[in-house]
C-alpha cells in the first residue's frame, strides 16, 4: 500500500503583526488518500483558507508555516525551496480560487492566461500546440466557444464563465490534487450547482483528489466524502461526511448543523421573550447544547396568526409594478416587469431571485429611492406615486430598510448612539433626553449592551452592525421593515441568531417584513409567503410550504434543487 497523497501533520501557521505573532492555524492534521475528497468547513476566520494556502505555500503577507509538516507523496512541502514549490504548483497541485472576479488578471486575455499556465508546466510547447491545448482545457471546463473567445478579456466574461476558466487553469496540467477554495460562493445558486457538478465529473474522470474549502456545511457534505470542521484555527471534528452531519459530536459542530439554513426545514417560531433567550446565550457560554440556535423548530401557532392577519387590510399592496431603465445606446432595460403582490400585516413575504432578477429594484421603489415607471404601490392606504414630499417624509417613518452589507450600512464616523438616534432627530421626535432613553430601549431590543452608544461601527462585528442597523430601522416604530439581503453577508451562526432576532421582533412588535434574498434556504426559516422572481417577473407566488413541498414552476424547482445539501437526510 502506497503512502497517502497528502498528509498534513500538526500544521501551524502564524502571521507577524505589530503586536506580535498571531496563530491562524494551530495543530491541524489530516490525511487525504488518492482519489478521495475532503472538505474543510468553517466560518470566516476559522483558518480554513489559510490551511489551503499553506499547503501550496502561498500565504498572504507575513504569513508563514511555523510548525508541522505538509507531506505530498512523502515530500515535505513546508521545507521545499521556492524553486521546488514552483515545480509542484500547477503540476502536482492545482488550485481553484474563490472569487472569479478578482482572480484573473484584467489586462491579459483569457487565452494568454491559460496558455501561460500550460507553458509553465511543460504540457505543450510551440505556439499552435499550446493554443490547442488551451482550447481543449477550456472546453473541458465547459466553455464551449473557447476557440472564439481566447482573445477576449476577463471583464467580457460572466462570473460563471470566469470560474470555468479558473477551473480549467487549475486542471490544465492534470494535477493529482486539486484545492478548491470556496470555488462557487460568489455565484448564483443555479450556476453554482452546474459548475460544481461539472467539477465533480471532471475530477472523477481524471482521478483527481479533491480538497474543498467551504463555509457551507450542506455543500461540503454533498460534495466530499470526508469533512473537517475548523474553529479558531483548530480542527474540532473530522470524519465521514454523512456521519458528522447526522451525528455531530463536538458542540461547535452541533451548533453549525443546527444553524445551517440549508438543512433546516421549518420556520423559526418566536418562543418566549427575546431578552430571556439572549441572556441564556450571553451568560451560559459553557452549556453548548443549550446555546445551539435551533432553526429546526416545529411550527405551532403560526397558522393561527396568519389567519388573523388575513382579515385585516394588507400592509403593502403592489400592483403591476414596472421599472424600465433607459440605457444609452442599447435601448431600454426592463428591470421589473408587471409585478404584483400583497403583504398582510404582521407577516413575512420573501422575494427570491438570482442576481439581476429585479428583486432589489422592487425594494428601492417601495422605499421610494427609485421611481416606478408604471404600476401602483400602496402602503398603509397611500399610493406612493401620488404622495407629496411632505407626506412621503411622514410615510418614511412607517417603512424602514435594513441592507446587506454590514460594513457599508453604518456611517463609520458616527457613534452608535447618534446612528440609532438619527431617525428621531430627523423627524424631530422627543427631547435629547427622551431620545437617549429610546436609544437604550432599542439597544435592549436588539440585545446589545447600552455601553455601545459611544462606540463606533468599526469596533463591531458584522452581526453586531446588522443589529445596530435593525435598531435604527426600528427607531421610528415602523410597521414595515424591508430586509434587502439583510443576513446574506453573515456567517451561518450569526445569520441564525439575526434571523431569530427578526422573528422575535416581529412577534413582539407585529412587524411586516419584506425579505429580499437570493438564498432560498433562508426563506424557509423566515418567510410565510414566497414570490420567486426571474428576469423582472414573478414566476411563482405561494406560501412557503407550498413552494418548498410542491413547486409549480421549473425555475423554482431548479432553485430548490440548487440548495446545497437539500437532499441530505438528517438523523435528528
Amino acid at each position: 500500500m502506497s503512502t497517502p497523497l497528502l498528509q498534513v501533520k500538526d500544521l501551524e501557521v502564524a502571521f507577524r503583526t505589530q503586536t506580535g505573532l498571531v496563530q491562524a492555524v494551530r495543530g491541524v492534521s489530516f490525511t487525504l488518500e488518492r482519489g478521495s475528497s475532503l472538505a474543510i468547513v468553517g466560518e470566516s476566520g476559522s483558518g480554513k483558507s489559510t490551511t489551503a494556502h499553506a499547503i501550496i505555500n502561498l500565504l498572504p503577507g507575513t504569513g508563514h508555516i511555523s510548525g508541522g509538516q505538509v507531506l505530498l507523496d512523502g515530500e515535505d512541502l513546508a521545507k521545499a525551496s521556492q524553486k521546488e514549490m514552483e515545480e509542484i504548483r500547477g503540476r502536482k497541485i492545482g488550485f481553484v480560487p474563490q472569487d472569479p472576479m478578482s482572480n484573473l488578471n484584467p489586462v491579459w486575455s483569457i487565452g494568454f492566461q491559460v496558455e501561460e499556465a500550460i507553458r509553465a508546466n511543460g504540457i505543450a510547447s510551440g505556439r499552435k500546440e499550446v493554443k490547442q491545448r488551451a482550447i481543449q482545457v477550456l472546453k473541458e471546463a465547459g466553455l464551449h466557444d473557447a476557440d472564439r473567445r481566447l482573445k477576449q478579456f476577463p471583464h467580457q466574461f460572466s462570473g460563471g464563465m470566469r470560474q470555468r476558466v479558473l477551473i480549467g487553469m487549475g486542471l490544465a496540467a492534470n494535477p493529482q490534487l486539486l484545492i478548491a477554495d470556496e470555488p462557487t460562493s460568489a455565484l448564483d445558486v443555479t450556476v453554482q450547482r452546474v459548475i460544481l457538478d461539472h467539477l465533480e465529473s471532471l475530477t472523477r474522470e481524471l482521478g483527481t483528489t479533491l480538497l474543498f474549502i467551504t463555509h457551507d456545511l450542506g455543500l461540503a457534505a454533498e460534495r466530499a466524502e470526508q469533512l473537517l470542521v475548523m474553529y479558531k484555527g483548530q480542527v474540532v471534528e473530522s470524519g465521514p461526511s454523512a456521519q458528522i452531519l447526522q451525528n455531530p459530536q463536538h458542540p461547535y459542530t452541533q451548533r453549525l448543523v443546527a444553524a445551517a439554513p440549508s438543512l433546516a426545514s421549518r420556520r423559526i417560531q418566536a418562543t418566549g421573550s427575546i431578552s430571556a433567550a439572549e441572556s441564556a446565550i450571553a451568560t451560559d457560554a459553557s452549556s453548548a447544547a443549550g446555546e445551539a440556535i435551533d432553526l429546526i423548530a416545529t411550527a405551532e401557532a403560526r397558522a393561527e396568526a396568519l389567519e388573523a392577519a388575513a382579515s385585516q387590510p394588507p400592509a403593502i399592496v403592489v400592483e403591476n409594478l414596472t421599472k424600465v431603465f433607459k440605457i444609452r445606446g442599447s435601448g431600454d432595460f426592463t428591470a421589473v416587469d408587471d409585478v404584483s403582490f400583497q403583504i398582510a400585516k404582521g407577516t413575512t413575504t420573501a422575494l427570491v431571485g438570482e442576481s439581476g432578477s429585479g428583486k432589489s429594484t422592487v425594494a428601492k421603489m417601495l422605499l421610494k429611492l427609485e421611481d416606478a415607471t408604471s404600476g401602483k404601490i400602496v402602503v398603509g392606504g397611500h399610493d406612493l406615486a401620488s404622495v407629496s414630499g411632505r407626506e412621503m417624509f411622514g410615510l418614511r417613518s412607517r417603512m424602514q430598510p435594513v441592507f446587506q452589507d454590514p460594513y457599508g450600512s453604518l456611517n463609520p464616523l458616527r457613534n452608535i448612539g447618534n446612528t440609532i438616534a438619527e431617525p428621531l432627530t430627523t423627524h424631530k421626535i422627543g427631547t435629547a433626553a427622551s431620545r437617549r432613553e429610546r436609544v437604550f430601549e432599542l439597544l435592549d431590543q436588539v440585545s446589545l449592551p447600552r455601553t455601545l452608544v459611544s462606540r463606533y461601527p468599526n469596533e463591531l462585528s458584522g452581526g453586531q452592525r446588522q443589529r445596530i442597523a435593525i435598531a435604527r430601522a426600528l427607531a421610528l416604530k415602523p410597521e414595515i421593515v424591508i430586509l434587502d439581503e439583510a443576513v446574506s453577508a453573515l456567517d451561518v451562526l450569526v445569520q441564525a441568531q439575526i434571523l431569530r432576532l427578526l422573528a422575535e421582533l416581529q412577534a413582539e412588535l407585529n412587524l411586516t417584513y419584506l425579505f429580499i434574498t437570493h438564498d432560498l434556504a433562508v426563506v424557509r426559516v423566515i418567510a410565510d409567503n414566497v414570490c420567486v422572481m426571474q428576469k423582472g417577473r414573478i414566476v411563482e407566488a405561494a406560501t412557503t410550504d407550498e413552494v418548498f413541498d410542491n413547486p409549480k414552476e421549473q425555475y423554482t424547482r431548479d432553485l430548490l434543487a440548487a440548495i446545497p445539501g437539500a437532499n441530505i437526510k438528517l438523523g435528528a
Binding site: 459530536q249 441592507f403 461601527p457 452581526g463 441568531q497
Partner: protein, 319 residues
C-alpha cells in the same frame, strides 16, 4: 489521527476534546478600551511616529519665526545694508554673511519666512474651499451639475497652475503683493483637489448608510454634508498639506522668475534669484535661503506623508 495502514482506508471520526477549543458565545461584544474611528485611530497612529513629531516641530518653529522674526535676529533685513559688506563672509552677529547689497543673510531668511507661510496658507485655504465645493457638488449631484463642474475643472486643470500664475502676474505687474500672488496660484490649483474629492464621493455616495439616511427622510443636502463629505475628506486633507508645500514652491518660483513679489517684500525666491548672478563667487548667498526654502517645503511634505499613512489604511499596510 492514527495512520490508515489497512488496505481499505477507513475514515476515522475524530472529535477534539472540548477543553482544547473552548466555545465562545456567538458574536459576543468585545468593546472594551477607548472608542475608535478613522480619526481617533489616525491620531493614535500619528502619535507613535517620530516623523510626525519632527515635521510638526519644524513647522511650529517656522510659524514662530514667521510670527515673531524680531525674536530671532536683531538685524534689519533691508535697512542699514552696507555695500562694503557685499557678499561678505560671516562676521560676529552675522552668522551667515551678507548678500550682494550687503544685507544680513540670516535676517533676510528670518523675515522671509512669513511671506512663504502666508502664501502657502492662503493658497491652501483657497484651493481647499474651491476644491471641496466643486468636487462635492460634482460628485454628489452628478448629472448635468457634474458635467458642467467637471468640464470647468478640466479647463482650469489644462493650464499648469504655475504657467497660469506667470501670465496673471505678468499682467498684474502693478498689483503684486501676497494676496494677489496667492490668488494667482490658487485660482488654477484647485482642480486636482476637486477631482480627488469627486472620486471619493462617487465611492461613498452609494454606500448603504447613505441610502439608509435617505430612507429615514434626511434631506439630500444634509446627507451630503453630514454623511458623504466627512467620509470622503481624508485624502483631501493629505492633498491640502502637500499643496501647502506646493504653493510655497510656486511663490518662490514666481519670485525667482521676477513675476512674483516686488523686491520690497522679503521672499526667499527673490533672494535666490538675486544671488544667482554671483553663484560662482559667492554660492553661500544662494545656498542659505535655498536651504530655508527646502526645509520648509520638506516639513510640510513629510507631514502630508505621515498623515496619509495614518488616514489611508492601504498606505498604512504598505509601511
Amino acid at each position: 489521527m492514527p495512520d490508515t495502514s489497512s488496505s481499505k482506508p477507513r475514515i476515522e471520526h475524530y472529535v477534539a476534546p472540548l477543553e482544547e477549543t473552548p466555545l465562545e458565545a456567538i458574536d459576543s461584544v468585545k468593546a472594551e478600551g477607548k472608542p475608535s474611528n478613522l480619526w481617533i485611530d489616525a491620531w493614535h497612529d500619528l502619535r507613535r511616529r517620530p516623523m510626525f513629531w519632527i515635521s510638526s516641530a519644524l513647522i511650529l518653529l517656522i510659524v514662530f519665526v514667521a510670527l515673531f522674526p524680531g525674536l530671532f535676529t536683531n538685524e534689519s533685513p533691508s535697512e542699514g545694508c552696507l555695500l562694503a559688506n557685499s557678499n561678505g563672509a560671516p562676521a560676529p552677529g552675522h552668522p551667515l554673511g551678507f548678500t550682494r547689497q550687503g544685507c544680513d543673510v540670516f535676517a533676510r531668511i528670518v523675515y522671509g519666512a512669513s511671506t512663504s507661510l502666508s502664501v502657502g496658507i492662503i493658497v491652501t485655504i483657497l484651493v481647499f474651499t474651491l476644491g471641496v465645493l466643486f468636487g462635492a457638488f460634482a460628485g454628489y449631484y452628478g448629472g448635468w451639475v457634474d458635467g458642467v463642474l467637471s468640464r470647468l475643472g478640466d479647463i482650469f486643470f489644462s493650464i499648469p497652475y504655475i504657467l497660469a500664475a506667470v501670465v496673471i502676474m505678468s499682467v498684474l505687474a502693478n498689483y503684486r503683493n501676497v494676496w494677489v500672488i496667492s490668488l494667482a496660484i490658487g485660482i488654477f490649483a484647485w482642480p486636482a483637489t476637486a477631482r480627488v474629492l469627486r472620486s471619493e464621493i462617487l465611492r461613498v455616495k452609494n454606500s448603504d448608510f447613505v441610502t439608509a439616511a435617505t430612507a429615514i427622510g434626511v434631506s439630500r443636502f444634509k446627507i451630503m454634508w453630514a454623511h458623504v463629505v466627512p467620509n470622503s475628506i481624508a485624502p483631501v486633507i493629505v492633498i491640502a498639506t502637500i499643496s501647502l508645500a506646493g504653493a510655497i514652491v510656486a511663490e518662490a518660483s514666481l519670485s525667482f522668475l521676477g513675476v512674483g513679489l516686488p523686491s520690497s517684500i522679503m521672499s526667499w525666491g527673490n533672494d535666490i534669484a538675486q544671488a544667482q548672478t554671483t553663484l560662482r563667487t559667492a554660492p553661500q548667498v544662494l545656498i542659505y535661503p535655498s536651504i530655508a526654502l527646502s526645509l520648509t517645503v520638506f516639513s510640510f511634505i513629510m507631514l502630508g506623508e505621515v498623515i496619509r499613512d495614518a488616514l489611508d489604511p492601504k498606505a498604512r499596510a504598505q509601511r
